[in-house]
Subunit: 300 residues, 2 copies
């Protein structure tokens, strides 16, 4: 796998070199490559290492990278993959435009493939942008609608993972629906686990203060579950903490109630449901099962 | 033409409606449609009004709109097409993500076309993003390299106009090279005229203070010509005004020297050269000639 991921990195680099701009190439090189989950999935599902596979992996990684560059501006993030973000180092202008360059270069490459692949990949970029804009909108007020939240994380996080899996199946003539669903469940589990870690992991593990999501206005599953469990006074109190700087007392009140209400447990159950649903779809692939299992063991 | 542009607007609206998000649709409707120069060119060159033509016009307008949304964030622009910009009204987060949604929706549609069209359109999106990032980079210091500047405005402004013209020719089996060049010259003339107007037009005509480009760090052709004309002391003085708030004295010094040095005249000559080169390529089309002529009459 390591060898494959290196080939994808090299292909991405070759695409960026085609732009003929040394400054852009240096910026690209300065970005950590991350775990390349989407490329791993593509390879594990497609199996045969073809030039089409490497090309599509590179396209999807460039799209993911572009979305992270724009996310960092949206969220004012200073760090990304343990290094200062492009946004923090070079400013939001460079982040936005570099993201646009990666998107458009990815789309140029994508145009070489059949329409089924093009429409799936481009469609998931629309979804992830839509997810991000809804994420921003939901953060303005305390959102307590679970379905709206789940639809948002599907668009923002799960759709590109779903697409990577589907594309892997298309390339190897496997059942697209099955692998698409596998990617969907994996993506949902991934985001819900991430949401739980923001509450239960320590600041050191997170590299940022715990409950940052809530301070930024994001009411993830545990907060939504807690809201519904509280009485009217409790609901008002919870809403009064939304988007505020949290004192140690606020933090302790939240943690205690997120546990007592069963909010955290229910979010864990939902993550487990998605992880198990993913596993049930790929019973014959130990590697794909392992990815879904490892996800859950990150936090609990 | 008016009828055609309405059809393009309606098709763009239909594409946005497919997203199924009322909020996005309202944002789209709130944006002024502008002059739709790229669609006019496409129609004038392609002539026959086919569904492919309407679709490609919509794609190119969506791409243009997306680039403006990102430009407004980059340039901190408060107004666009005479109305408050999305950036000013809804904030930069919404501008960035709405731009991404328009880009990706345009690319989804684009995937239905042949690779020659896909690669031209996607390639020009890469160019315009690259142009914008170089524009930001050049603004950091006083750039006095004319070739670098011209290459930047080719990428940022002319490339999409060039592509719109080329696509029109492809759809109607005309000579792609000829119309591609026509679009290139038109785009270059357009940007250079815009640069001159920023200096010679009144604040009322511009809707912003004159010489905003220079205050933002952009050294357009007249400033570059002036720099080369000045002696060493003059060069240092000109550089000392760069990116500064301009007093009335500074403004008068600049205007006087931009005229005396011949900087403005030389920029006008360059715009005329591009306009005439465009006209020479389309001698049999009065409408295409008129577009190139009107460009010049905007400012002088």
């Amino acid at each position: 796998m390591k060898n494959y991921l290196e080939k994808v990195q090299n292909h991405m680099m070759a695409l960026i070199k085609e732009l003929g701009d040394d400054h852009i190439l240096r910026l690209f090189k300065s970005i950590e490559s991350g775990k390349m989950v989407r490329s791993r999935l593509l390879k594990l599902i497609a199996e045969n290492e073809t030039s089409d596979l490497i090309s599509l992996s590179s396209i999807i990684e460039l799209i993911h990278l572009a979305s992270l560059l724009h996310d960092d501006v949206i969220d004012n993030s200073d760090t990304r993959r343990g290094k200062p973000s492009i946004n923090a180092t070079y400013g939001s202008k460079v982040s936005i435009m570099l993201g646009d360059i990666f998107y458009s270069k990815a789309f140029s490459e994508l145009g070489k493939f059949d329409y089924e692949i093009v429409s799936r990949v481009a469609g998931s970029v629309t979804k992830l942008s839509l997810g991000e804009i809804v994420d921003v909108r939901l953060s303005e007020h305390f959102n307590h609608d679970e379905n709206i939240y789940l639809n948002m994380i599907y668009n923002k996080t799960a759709s590109l993972i779903e697409t990577a899996s589907a594309v892997g199946a298309i390339l190897s003539n496997k059942d697209v629906e099955t692998y698409s669903k596998y990617g969907y469940h994996l993506g949902m589990a991934f985001q819900i686990v991430d949401d739980i870690l923001d509450i239960v992991a320590s600041s050191e593990e997170l590299g940022k203060p715990a409950m940052s999501d809530f301070v930024e206005g994001k009411t993830t599953i545990p907060y939504i579950k807690l809201w519904h469990w509280l009485d009217n006074n409790g609901k008002r109190y919870l809403e009064s903490l939304h988007k505020k700087h949290l004192t140690p007392d606020d933090y302790n009140w939240l943690l205690k109630n997120l546990e007592e209400s069963g909010g955290i447990r229910q979010a864990k159950d939902l993550a487990k449901f998605h992880s198990k649903s993913a596993i049930n779809l790929v019973k014959d692939s130990p590697e794909l099962i392992e990815i879904a299992e490892k996800l859950l063991s990150r936090g609990f």
